[in-house]
Subunit: 334 residues, 2 copies
DNA sequence: TTGTACGCGTTATCAC
DNA sequence: GTGATAACGCGTACAA
């Protein structure tokens, strides 16, 4: 249990320095010596104390993953992509959730993780929020996921384009009164939300259609929120014939609201979601799907790249989205 | 940036020892001194190096969370419960996924995390699998989630009872040919899977019904697997009139298989799932719901308890399940 | 190629 | 209540 590098050195008949070199695969060590040391370490189940090696080397061997949610579909899937890549490196994944409702006396991620990790992965958080700002100010490697920011590595999709494609699809089906189920109440600066909404507006205006303020309802990115939003939209004097929900979970809620009123998605009101949630297929909901797991994986790889080659130029990777047309946006043949 | 405890000590006009004591809130320090030290630390944005602190104290300040999946509904939700509790402690959450397909040269979690964490949380993994065995052999605090094992802390539900309740519900509806969509092909020793199946068998036998081997199909805990299983079940000479899927995701797949064949869940074939997935409501699927987030939260609390009071007696917590009856298991009135 | 010796930043054990 | 100082386990110049 309490094995130290000295125990290995003694057992292998070499110095601690040699043990250190052998175990880390440094070149300047005789291969016979290395094998012997490794065999001893293996036999004694020795692993170098990360704390001691960090103290000596300055490298902490961890990456911090900062996310607003861990259980929601998008975030959980991005996280799994991150995990898969990190698993193959020798870096540990330290998970840090910044609560949605900003609790006052929370320790900000930058302060808490600074000495613990060598770099950060930030999932779908506003790059200009205080927490992320602090993290970026650390001048450690950072890769943003789902958002871009000048002079920072990032992996994201083109949310504006995605919003435009979804809306255009609805327009192509002949709809004119198209509603938007957005995220939060106020126009937040959070880019995915803002960008998808902008894509909606652009497509509408380009088609010469008006964006009726009554037809914009916040859904808080939740199923329940989406349901409430849809209910509100159905209650306006002249209800929409089509709805673009900027997340699939809100689209699910919208479908539920329709069913409550005995309305048929696709036939009575067209619905398009966003994300490519695995169950949108099952629910037959049209959606703009994004490569969620890959987003996380590429971001992790980009971070590893920077960690091993510090002077890599910063890159902003853009991944494609794909419109998955399903029954919810196509009027059933009558 | 490169602040050390000595910088704070100098600035506050005290020794490093006093800084250490003051910052950790140890009792034997004058309150005026403590306030002064804290003010300086705050101003200089000083945080003690976890590595140095671990080396000196022996405490690593992290807990390892071992899980087979990070994106699947059950695991993501348990993880969120864990995170919520750990956030309020001063322990970091180090996430470690043990791949499903056992890759040969993977570093086992015990070796990798031993010196990095002070305790483990193991999510729905077989307590007797090699990886978990090694972890338990570390004689560090461990709390199992979703499984029990002698002499180990754990938080779980009663899966046997859950399986029995689901099956009994189907029996009560008058069904006699009831199928089971289980997890993997072979009878794995993984307890939730095994226990739910056992509950099924018990209920069937108690009702004097036969368990037809043809009516047991593996669904691999995935939507696609559940769909394939249901398709297979519909193809047997005398198909079942009701199906118990031991996970909601597999139940979702079963519903899809039914739809493909123009069959109506509830009317043509009754379906009951297991987990309480948020979308089972939307899909109108009856399920045995379990308090997933709470499972993770309680497990984390139990671990924190053991970490602060090492001689706590080991506890095995059992949380209740709840049958949520919905349309998929009740014949529509014709 | 290998060994020696120092330093990394903090905590704990003593004295005072 | 406070201050010196010796560990803690490892990486790494530097010397051999």
């Amino acid at each position: 249990m309490g094995m130290t590098i000295r125990d290995i050195a003694r057992e292998a008949g070499v110095s601690t320095a040699t043990v250190s070199r052998a175990l880390r695969g440094l070149p300047n060590v005789d291969s016979a010596t290395r094998d012997r040391v490794r065999a001893v370490a293996e036999r004694l189940d020795y692993v170098a104390s990360p704390a001691a090696s960090q103290l000596a080397s300055g490298r902490s061997g961890g990456v911090g993953v900062i996310t607003p949610f861990v259980a929601r579909w998008y975030f959980a899937n991005v996280l799994s992509g991150v995990e898969r890549v990190l698993q193959r490196s020798d870096l540990d994944l330290v998970l840090f959730a910044v609560g949605d409702s900003d609790e006052p006396h929370r320790v900000p991620p930058a302060r808490r993780l600074r000495r613990r990790v060598e770099g950060f992965l930030v999932i779908a958080l506003d790059p200009d929020s205080p927490d992320v700002r602090e993290v970026r100010a650390l001048d450690m490697p950072v890769t943003l996921i789902g958002a871009h920011h000048e002079r920072t590595n990032s992996v994201a999709i083109d949310d504006v384009s995605g919003g435009r494609i979804a809306t255009q699809h609805l327009i192509n089906q002949g709809h004119k009164r198209i509603a938007l189920i957005s995220g939060r109440q106020l126009p937040s600066p959070f880019s995915p939300e803002w960008d998808r909404s902008r894509g909606f507006t652009e497509a509408m205006e380009q088609a010469g259609l008006v964006v009726d303020p009554d037809l914009i309802a916040p859904g808080c990115f939740t199923v329940d929120g989406g349901e409430a939003a849809m209910a509100a939209l159905l209650a306006v004097p002249e209800p929409p014939t089509a709805v673009f929900a900027i997340s699939d979970e809100m689209a699910f809620g919208a479908v539920r609201a329709l069913r409550r009123q005995r309305l048929q998605p696709g036939t009575d009101v067209a619905i398009v979601g966003f994300d490519g949630h695995e169950l949108s297929d099952l629910l037959d909901i049209t959606t703009v799907s994004q490569p969620v797991v890959q987003l996380g994986a590429l971001a992790a790889e980009a971070l590893l790249e920077v960690l091993s080659h510090p002077h890599t130029a910063t890159r902003q990777i853009q991944l494609p989205t794909q419109l998955m047309v399903r029954g919810s946006s196509i009027a059933a043949r009558r």
